[in-house]
Each structure stands twice: as structure tokens, then as C-alpha cells.
């Protein structure tokens, strides 16, 4: 809880940086503030009775602390990557930083809400700064277009979400997700209002996590937005949206899983198939990563199908962590390629592995991890996810087969990047890496490989129950 308050204050301080002219030191201040937020967030870990805050609107249980910690780490890593970009640019650094921090506040609310109004506010606080940031290259038509598309579809999805919440309220008389779960448990006949609300909420959240057939905005927005903002959207926003999705469905709708699992499994299969097939046709790496994000959203939806399994939370945490750090590594490299070559096409990656061994290695490891090839964290996360779904019986065997075929297809397009980097000839690019950036890339690569080699450290920890 205090993490949210401190992070909001940090955002306000960042806004004041322009006025009181401490812009130069703002970056260090933000990093220090994020470290404090991380520690404060961890203080809520494993409380015997988690604190109910603000009349049961927010609850920092272990689930919220674990995902909150992941989000804060990702924001920290994002700031390390962005240093190079904001260090000597003409941009209003304090505006950008405060918007990013406010967006992270929304992410923290989304992982800890217990009241549907907080779900709505979290989604909005997360999205509204990003509408602005997606359009932050004011003269660039692609950026403008991305911003407007994101805004219109985001607002549209919010309308649908609100209508769904209202229907649920009409059926149950409460906004509290636990009380909605109790309503489901008690009532002998669930009203039609409840089911229409459930479907509308499902559609709205599918919009937010970019699941097919509601994924069409994602590639356009990811491609048009500035690359660092895309990195933020692809990692932090997706983690928060999935954490919110899971929290709602496990608390409220877990008992009537047989009423919605069919439609969600269709959405899941469609997302995996469409995301992987369309990614194979891309020539722009930025757009390829967008489609890869869509297909990974399909794998993540498989945890929500297993929402009643105790191990699903762990599977979701591992998969979001693996996807986010791998994607962040890929975007960290893409940022430098775009800056040195001015293009995000596949050709601009040619011979990167030879001219820039570090960048090439990081990109290759990230791609292998996203494709789910051992010994990376991505392989282990996928394995854990599939076995978690299969432990429920053979109901979803077909879905796991679709997912495995999908990841085989994904190997094709992830390897296109690796082949371009190591097997094709291309011009050398000047190196523009700062120390922070290089350190971060090395840490990301290390994490991907170390956790991939020894996954037991995370899962077998006895007191790590979320």
C-alpha cells in the first residue's frame, strides 16, 4: 500500500523537476525512489493477516507483492535502458518520467485491487499516460496514428469493461471481487445479468491483453510508438493486465469455470495461431516483437484457464517474468539498432553479431528465450505452464498441442533475426552504449540463462507461496 503512495509522490516530484531545475539529477532520484518503493513493497510480504486498505478496496497479499515487485524491477530496468535516450535529448524529461511513473502506479493498483472501481481506475491510470507517450513524437505521423488508435480502442474497451462491471453490480449488489465470488457460491441460480457482465468483462480484458480477435490495435500501436514506450507497453503493461485478469477470474469466477472456459480456450487457441502465423510474415523487427507479444499473450491466457490450480499463480508469475525480461532485452538491442541505422527492418540487424558481439549475443539469447529453447528461462516457463494446465486432466490436451505447434512456428521467425545477425553481411554500426545500458543487458542475459539452468531455486522455495 505504501508502495503506491511513495510511487505517486515520486511522480509528482518528477513533475516539479522542470520548475525547480533539478532535471540533471532527476534520473538518479527516480532510480533511488524506485529502490525505496521496492523495499517498501517487500515489507508487505507474508503478513499473517494482509492489510485491507480503504474499505477493502486494495489488498496487499503475497500475490500483489510478488507481481508488484516484478513490475517495480521492470520499471527500474526500463529507466536504465532509457538513460541513453533522455540524457541529451531535447525532450521534456520530467514530463516523460512522471508519466511513466504514474503509469506504473496504475500497474501497482491493478495487481492489488479487490474492488472493481480500483480495477477501472487502475486500467485508466495505466493507460492515459501511455496514450500521451505513444504520441510523444509530435511531428511523426506514425506516432500520431499509434496514439489515436491506442486512445480510441482503449476508451472503447474501457466502456465495455464498465458496462460489464455494472452488470455484475446489478446481479450481485457489490463491487468487491471476493463478495462476487461468494455470490456465485451461494446463489442457486445465477442471473442472466451476471453472465452478460462476465462476458463483457472478459472481452474488455481480452482487448487490454491483446488477445485475438481483439488484437488488431497492438501491431499498429507498437510500431508507431517510440521504441522505448513500446518496450514499456510490451512488458509492464502486459504483466499488469494479466495480473489483473487472473486476480479477477480467480477470486470471482473460479467456481463457474465451466461456463466460460470454452470461449476462453477458443480465444487462447486463436491468439496463439494468429499471433505466430502473422509474426512469420513481418519484415520489421518492432512489428515482429508486437506479434510475438500477441502469441505470448495466448500462452499466458492458458494460466487463466487453470485458474483454480494453486500452482497457476506461480506459472503466471514465471511466464510474465520470463517474457518481460526477454522482451526488454530485445528492445534494448532494437533501440540501439534503430538509433545507429535509423531503421527497424530485419536487414538492419545484418551482421550485428559480428560487429557488436555483446548486442548480438543479448538479442540471440532473448530470442531463444522467447522461442522457449533450453537452457533459457523461456523454456522452463513454458514447460511449467503446460504441465500446470495438463495437471488438470486431459481436457486441454488439444490446446497444449496447438501451443506447442505454435512455438515451433515461432522458432522460425525468432531465428530469422538470429540468422540475420550471424549469417548475413552488413555494414558495421557505430556503438552508442552507455555503461548502465551495457550492465543491464548483461544482467538480463545472465538472468535468462541462470534461471533457465537452475529453475528449482525459484519454484522450490518453501516460503515463496503466492
Amino acid at each position: 500500500m505504501n508502495a503506491i503512495i511513495i510511487l505517486s509522490s515520486l511522480g509528482i516530484i518528477a513533475m516539479l523537476a522542470e520548475m525547480f531545475s533539478f532535471k540533471k539529477s532527476l534520473w538518479y532520484l527516480v532510480l533511488a525512489g524506485l529502490a525505496v518503493v521496492f523495499v517498501v513493497n517487500l515489507l508487505d510480504w507474508n503478513l499473517d493477516t494482509p492489510e485491507q486498505q480503504f474499505k477493502n478496496m486494495i489488498l496487499f497479499d503475497n500475490y500483489a507483492v510478488a507481481f508488484g515487485g516484478l513490475i517495480i524491477i521492470l520499471v527500474f530496468a526500463w529507466f536504465l535502458i532509457s538513460y541513453n535516450h533522455y540524457k541529451d535529448s531535447e525532450l521534456n524529461v520530467s514530463d516523460h518520467f512522471s508519466l511513466i511513473i504514474f503509469s506504473s502506479v496504475g500497474a501497482l493498483i491493478l495487481v492489488s485491487y479487490t474492488h472493481l472501481s480500483m480495477l477501472f481506475l487502475g486500467v485508466e491510470i495505466l493507460s492515459i499516460p501511455l496514450y500521451i507517450l505513444a504520441g510523444s513524437m509530435k511531428k511523426d505521423l506514425a506516432s500520431n496514428e499509434a496514439s489515436l488508435k491506442y486512445f480510441m480502442l482503449g476508451a472503447f474497451a474501457t466502456g465495455i469493461l464498465l458496462f460489464g462491471i455494472t452488470m455484475l453490480y446489478g446481479a450481485t449488489g457489490t463491487f468487491n471481487i471476493v463478495e462476487i465470488g461468494m455470490y456465485v457460491q451461494k446463489s442457486s441460480e445465477i442471473s442472466i445479468l451476471f453472465y452478460s457482465g462476465l462476458m463483457l468483462v472478459l472481452i474488455a480484458l481480452a482487448f487490454k491483453v491483446s488477445a485475438a480477435p481483439f488484437h488488431f490495435w497492438t501491431p499498429d500501436v507498437y510500431q508507431g510508438a517510440p521504441v522505448l514506450i513500446t518496450a514499456f507497453m510490451a512488458t509492464i503493461v502486459k504483466t499488469a493486465a494479466f495480473a489483473a485478469f487472473f486476480r479477477l477470474f480467480s477470486n470471482s469466477f473460479g467456481l463457474i469455470i465451466n461456463d466460460w472456459n470454452f470461449i476462453l480456450s477458443i480465444i487462447t487457441a486463436l491468439t496463439i495461431v494468429l499471433g505466430n502465423i502473422l509474426a512469420a510474415y513481418q519484415t520489421s523487427v518492432k512489428r515482429l516483437l508486437a506479434y510475438s507479444g500477441i502469441s505470448q499473450a495466448g500462452y499466458l491466457l492458458m494460466t487463466i484457464l487453470a485458474v483454480n490450480q494453486e500452482s497457476s499463480k506461480m506459472a503466471l508469475l514465471l511466464y510474465t517474468a520470463s517474457y518481460s525480461i526477454s522482451t526488454l532485452g530485445a528492445f534494448g538491442v532494437l533501440y540501439h539498432v534503430m538509433k545507429s541505422k535509423g531503421s527497424d527492418s530485419l536487414d538492419s540487424f545484418n551482421s550485428l553479431g559480428k560487429t557488436q558481439p555483446l548486442l548480438g549475443f543479448v538479442m540471440a539469447v532473448s530470442m531463444l528465450s522467447l522461442a522457449g529453447i533450453p537452457p533459457t528461462i523461456g523454456f522452463f516457463a513454458k514447460f511449467y505452464l503446460f504441465s500446470n494446465l495438463l495437471s488438470m486432466g486431459n481436457t486441454y490436451l488439444w490446446l497444449v498441442i496447438v501451443a506447442i505447434v505454435g512455438s515451433l512456428v515461432s522458432v522460425y521467425y525468432y531465428f530469422k533475426v538470429i540468422i540475420a545477425m550471424y549469417a548475413k553481411e552488413g555494414a558495421a554500426s557505430p556503438l552508442m552504449l552507455t555503461t548502465f545500458h551495457r550492465a543491464l543487458l548483461i544482467i538480463i542475459t545472465g538472468l535468462i540463462i541462470i534461471i533457465g539452468l537452475a529453475p528449482g531455486i525459484l519454484v522450490s522455495m518453501d516460503n515463496f507461496k503466492i
Binding site: T166, G170, G173
Partner: protein, 108 residues
């Protein structure tokens, strides 16, 4: 006089139907119209249909939570549409048009 209105007071399902119609008009507006300003108006219509229904349910359940939620929605919708109009201004400066047809740079 009070008895008279009680006799004619609509049931909660009338509110549900009215709000659903308003919401559907909003959705169709977003999907069909090409002018971005009209689309913004359609989005507002969707949100206000929700507000109406929330107040109806709030009275139906005799619970003030729904009415408080309406204030949240109003405040956030105002903030959201402010950002939307700023984005629209930016696009108008660059393209000289407020039609969604001017947005066709990004595909596939």
C-alpha cells in the same frame, strides 16, 4: 401524488433495456462514423449509458456504492477525453483532417 408515481415507477429491467440501447448506439457510433470528434461523442455516450445504469442499480440495491462509482467514471472520462482532444489537435496540425481515413500509415 406519491402513490401515482409509485404505480408508474419503472422496474429495473426498463433501465437495463434503456441503457443497453444507449450503449449499443454508442458502440455503433464508434464502429461506423468516420469523424473522430463524433467517435469521441459516441464513446461518451457509452460511458453515460453505464452511468445511468449504475444509478438505477444503486437505487435498486439500496446501496450508495454505485452512485459513488458514477463520480469516478465522470472524473476519469473528463480526463480521458482531454487527452483524446489533445491527440486530435496534434493530428489535425499534421494532416489537416479529423477523419479516421487520414490514419493509414501503419498496416500489416
Amino acid at each position: 401524488m406519491g402513490e401515482f408515481f409509485k404505480y408508474f415507477s419503472p422496474s429495473i429491467y426498463n433501465y437495463v433495456i434503456l441503457s443497453s440501447i444507449l450503449f449499443a448506439i454508442g458502440v455503433m457510433g464508434v464502429l461506423i462514423r468516420r469523424n473522430i470528434i463524433i467517435i469521441f461523442m459516441a464513446i461518451e455516450l457509452m460511458l453515460n449509458a453505464v452511468n445511468l445504469l449504475l444509478v438505477g442499480f444503486s437505487v435498486h440495491h439500496d446501496d450508495t456504492g454505485g452512485q459513488v462509482f458514477v463520480f469516478f467514471i465522470m472524473a476519469v472520462a473528463a480526463a480521458e477525453i482531454t487527452v483524446g482532444l489533445a491527440i486530435l489537435m496534434m493530428i489535425y496540425r499534421n494532416t489537416g483532417s479529423v477523419s479516421v481515413d487520414s490514419l493509414k500509415n501503419l498496416k500489416w
